[in-house]
Symmetry: C2
Subunit: 370 residues, 2 copies
């Protein structure tokens, strides 16, 4: 058995401060740990890195007191923070390249190590869609799957409700103390008995529109596959389906009449190659062989403190910044065109990111923010 990996309390506080600081998302967090050697060292280096990246004002670092308060409040609400790399952290979620460094979990954390299947769909669902989602969730729950969804009205809530007994995971777009929509507070209370609610956001955070697509990557990231039950064209559920493909998850869709606008999205997914689902067995036939399969080595962060990397010279930094513009370019091209090493290019990009001047795009391409 490999040794149990666990952050110290001091490390967990540093991790929380770092991920709660300005301009730091999961990918930047990862890059910072690699660059500075530890979250503690990154917190110290942040002001200088951002200044070098050209920040117009000091970046906001999460104060120690705020992080301590969040940890205390979380403990009071029964919320635990799992760090990527720790044993309890959901193994499949750890494989996505923007896995949350800390996942706030309420409920029965053990469900997170069981095989999961996501069921998502329209908020504005039809009665037939709701009924089908319930049946599917019940059947997949009975077959040993934990059902993951997004706690929204309509299909999501139907899937959670039908799998409360067998285990279901609600991925929140906001914090644990700010459940959205508010009428689903009792559903969360019910589902944490055998399942869990998870979030990467601060406890009291109220979700805004852009937080939902961001949250959707966690729904597909946790699961072996995503089933889209009903979805209009250009809906959030389709985004979840697309993210699932990027994450190499199976994508399933339920067909519907061409005259039903709530089936336009699912039919489009089917045309693009999603697997058709008319009963739970369609899903089980695909997932059964995957369950046993070994999960690829997860993209874990270094928990042991490491040695900081060298900083770029003023010269190389200037050369790299000059090559950047509003048109996205790959890091490989930057390395080739600047003649700088990969480490130097990555360090420069990190500085720009911390200064709020860099945007990362699909496929690892980067662009300056005007």
């Amino acid at each position: 058995m490999r040794p149990r990996v666990r952050l110290t309390d001091a490390q967990r506080l540093d991790w929380l401060r770092l991920i709660r600081s300005e301009n730091i998302g999961p990918r930047t967090f990862h890059a910072l740990l690699n660059h500075c050697g530890s979250a503690g060292a990154a917190l110290k280096a942040l002001p200088e890195l951002a200044r070098r990246g050209g920040a117009g004002r000091p970046v906001r670092i999460c104060p120690r007191a705020d992080a301590e308060q969040e940890l205390t409040a979380a403990a009071r609400s029964g919320v635990a923070f799992l760090a990527v790399g720790e044993d309890e952290y959901p193994a499949r979620l750890a494989t996505i390249d923007d896995a949350p460094p800390l996942l706030a979990v309420r409920g029965h954390a053990a469900v997170l190590s069981q095989p999961m299947i996501a069921i998502v769909g329209s908020r504005n669902a039809s009665a037939a869609g709701v009924k089908f989602a319930e049946q599917l969730a019940r059947d997949l729950g009975a077959a040993g799957f934990v059902v993951v969804s997004g706690l929204a009205r309509g299909i999501d809530a139907a899937a959670h409700r039908a799998s409360v007994a067998t285990g279901t995971v609600a991925v929140l777009a906001g914090g644990h103390d700010n459940i959205y929509p508010p009428e689903h507070v009792p559903l969360v209370e019910a589902l944490v008995e055998n399942g869990a609610a998870v979030s990467e956001m601060p406890l009291g955070y109220g979700p805004r529109g852009r937080d939902f697509p961001r949250r959707n990557r966690l729904i597909s990231g946790l699961a072996l596959g995503v089933i889209v039950v009903e979805a209009a064209q250009k809906s959030g559920s389709l985004i979840t389906g697309r993210r699932a493909l990027e994450q190499n998850r199976e994508v399933f869709a339920v067909p519907g009449s061409p005259l039903d606008p709530r089936a336009a999205g699912t039919n489009a997914l089917l045309k693009q190659g999603a697997i058709m689902v008319t009963e739970a067995e369609d899903v089980l036939a695909v997932l059964r062989p995957i369950i046993g399969r070994c999960i690829e080595p997860p993209n874990t962060l270094q928990i042991e403190d490491g040695v900081p990397l060298a900083e770029p010279s003023t010269d190389s930094r200037a050369r790299i910044v000059a090559l950047l513009g509003p048109t996205p370019i790959s890091a490989d091209d930057l390395i080739r065109l600047s003649g700088a090493s990969a480490t130097v290019v990555q360090a420069t990009l990190l500085e720009l990111e911390l200064a709020g001047r860099l945007k990362r795009q699909q496929g690892g391409r980067v662009a300056l923010i005007d």
Copy 2:
């Protein structure tokens, strides 16, 4: 330009008598013409061939007077008989191995040389299904396709009605003077203006249950592809879909809710690889490249009278019959095991068939009828 191929009146009469005789379907007709050299020679040889095949009683040969009467009645009803191999005979239909030797056509025969698409589905159709079939037929008609269907209630009738103006072909399960269902007589009168009704059955023939699946091969045989709009499990429309695959036609299906039993068949087709249709463009994208493609040399019959083939010796015939039983066996195996030539094996099988003792199965395998 190749010379116009056309039966003489005497030949057409012989062809009609032969196909209307007992135990003779399109495949036996073809074998007889190859064996005897002409339909006239086949009619003369029939009693002896059937006796050799072990017929318990003389086979019924269509009397000359009956055939003459059918030709006269047909002319009166505006029905023309097209022979496979003649220029007007629908080219794609001629490629299937059980193409009717004579196709009785009423209406505007020129539509039979235009690109055709079949639209079929449940008799017990939903309002949404009917609406969708109409839209599809209108759009495909506007795009230059002739719509083929089976004149049944529900989806078939909707497809015909919506394409009366652009051209539609009704394939009858019975004869031209016995339209089924009777309430569609006015629809036939309307559609023959720009389109056609076709049948392989005698003019006054009233269709029975088994005639519908048999007729379905003509629907798919005429068309580049078959669209199944609504279909329950184990429905006639699914048989049409399956026949279409055997004939190398494209199979399209319209998705529906898993909770709608009228979509169970179409969803099953989609799971098996049918192309999903939610709008006409899905069909056009697949068929446009095929239209221009040359049609493979059709399986035409010899119209010029030929030389009769040698008959099997008593010995070889006995050896071949001994090898046959209720378990289907391929002609290749019979040739190998009997040591007889392919011609002799085929001639013996023909005799047995004419005697009503042989059943031909999918893939050219044969079995004795107990």
